[in-house]
């Protein structure tokens, strides 16, 4: 491979690590703020460039295997952290986000076999990119929402007032829900073209539906003015359902006759 994945990943990790370190020092020495931000940003930029090069090398979007979606996740999650800092002045989220990104890259470094070139016919569709991109961004938002909610739960346990944090987790969940809905419907429209029916209760579909229901429940509970503090627990835990849908389905007993488990690795 012309663009070596390990080199790109290690470069990105190094940028994030030095950026975070400088960021911590910047609390005392504010001049370091800008270099810290630039370095952290550069980490994501490296991953974005890698994805671009890899895409042109493969002649297809690198969105097929779980390993490939982890690449996107690694590039995008830190960006959500930076965005939240910019918009809501919440600084800690980006550290979690970069940590999560490093975690995904390390998984891929340990599993080189996830980079396989072929794309089966059912996946060759104009729906492929919108469907997966919408889901990826949705998952990124919901991951950030859960991390924020978890942080809020800790603050609650130490009885700290934290209205801003609760509204961040809420809006991230709301945006994530919108994207999940689009992803689900795009998936259904695509399934009709590729497999003949828009909904077959395939395990992957069932779990996608379950994660959508989890956030549908959240939004209605929120509307019904259920205590926001309690709902932080709910948001923090909802991500578990997403994780099963995303990683776990392949390991469930029901997956033995799934048409969507081509993404091993």
């Amino acid at each position: 491979m012309i663009v070596d994945f390990n080199t790109a990943a290690i470069t990105a990790i190094a940028f994030w690590a030095t950026g975070s370190l400088l960021g911590l020092f910047a609390r005392r020495t504010p001049v370091l703020k800008l270099p810290a931000l630039i370095l952290s940003f550069a980490g994501s930029l490296v991953m974005v460039c890698f994805i671009g090069l890899y895409w042109s090398l493969l002649d297809r979007p690198p969105l097929r295997t779980l390993g490939e979606t982890r690449l996107w996740y690694a590039a995008l999650i830190p960006l959500v952290g930076f965005l939240v800092e910019y918009r809501w002045k919440i600084t800690w989220l980006k550290y979690y986000c970069m940590g999560l990104a490093v975690f995904f890259l390390v998984i891929n470094m340990n599993h080189p076999e996830v980079f396989d070139k072929t794309l089966m016919p059912a996946l060759q569709s104009p729906w492929f990119i919108p469907h997966v991109v919408v889901y990826l961004i949705g998952y990124v938002m919901l991951a950030a929402s859960s991390v924020t909610a978890l942080h809020n739960v800790f603050l609650q346990l130490r009885s700290k007032e934290n209205v801003a944090g609760e509204s961040v987790s809420h809006y991230l969940a709301l945006l994530g829900f919108v994207l999940l809905s689009f992803g689900l419907i795009f998936g259904a429209l695509w399934a009709k073209e590729a497999w003949g029916h828009y909904w077959t209760w395939d395990p992957k579909e069932t779990w996608a539906f379950l994660s959508w229901l989890a956030y549908l429940g959240y939004l209605h509970a929120y509307r019904y003015k259920i205590d926001q503090g309690k709902l932080q627990w709910y948001l923090a835990l909802s991500f578990l359902v997403l994780l099963v849908c995303w990683f776990g389905v392949n390991y469930l007993p029901s997956a033995q006759n799934s048409v969507h488990t081509y993404t091993n690795g």
Binding site: T118, L174, A194, G196, Y198, T206, L213, G217, Y224, S254
Partner: protein, 413 residues
Amino acid sequence: MVVVRRRWFQVPWEFRESSIFTALSVLVGFIVQYATSGQGIPMFRLPVNAVVLAVFAALILGTGLGFRENEMVKWFGGIPLGLCLIVAISVLSLIGGVVPQGGLMAGSLFALLGVNQIFSSWPFALTVVLFLANLGLSLSWRLVPFNMKNLQFILFHAGFWIALSCGVFGAPDLQRLVVKVDEGESSNLAWSMENDTEQRLPFSVVLHDFSLEEYPPQLFLYDPHKEQPLQERTKRTTLVHKGAKASWKGVDVEVVDFLPSALPGKNGDPEPAESKAGVPFAKLRIASADAAPIDAWISTGSPMMKPYAAQFRELYFVMMPGAPKAFRSDVTVHGESGQQTSATLEVNHPINVMGWKLYQMGYDNEVGRWSKYSLIEVIRDPWLPAVYLGFFMIMAGNLMFFWNGIKQKGGVS
């Protein structure tokens, strides 16, 4: 502040009453399922299901608008019951998402309770109907009197109501059949996989040509003592192309020549051939530190031709055909009244003919690109436009939701 605890079943009803009601409904569903075991839910086809659905919708709308102030009706269309029903649907779907679905365990308790076909079981159907009633009531109050401010709510909820109800009530009208056609032949016989019956279609399909394109072949190392390809160990597939390199335990291999389509010539060396008949050939240079490099041709072979392998000590290098990249059928469809359509069917490129949708489905897997027949799936779903209308309404509501959510950001509403 004095906290006044509500007594059980004191109006207005809330979560406690809603959860009991929901749990009881699911229980009743399982009991009915057990009692009627094996018979399933009666399925009505057009036009009966359309009439039933219309009556159901009218009933809900009438109840919602006629008894708007009734506490019971208010509860039935409220968020607490809605949330409980969402939980019930989630739990049932969770069962369907974990327990393998299919008729495997006939006769067991699981099968009697419908756990192995949860999505067509009584408890699921009952919950969906209650869900539709709940959603429909809440919708009726926002529809009348109409107010633009409620548009977003209406798009979401009405869209979902339409998609879900038409998907569920219309399911019996869905026909999915498979036609097997041999190259150069015609067929109007279709097979239903659900009930294992054959039926005659109102049109016939002629298959002119079936063709399959493959990805580049893959290189494998095969150890005859182990009876398995060694590729597993490096966990990396090597796609064959000129210049491709691979190595296994001190043995280096390079592809020095690659002919995507060739046939053996007079002296045994391959010569390029037209793509319909030829098979891929690759010339390998195999070397190790303690032996002079050797060159050898390998090929994937075909049903008519034995594959070539290269031997190096006790190891064999073999080439496996690549994964299918695309497969298509050139067909002409002849209707009963003389109309005809010609098209190329391909995965992800179905065609619409006479109210049916035709899909490229499969072929003879044993021989891959040499398949002499094509499997074509033919599907009819008269309810599809209604379901899609629902989908598009939800997406429109989604766009509004996205926009408004962004606009109000910062404040807790």
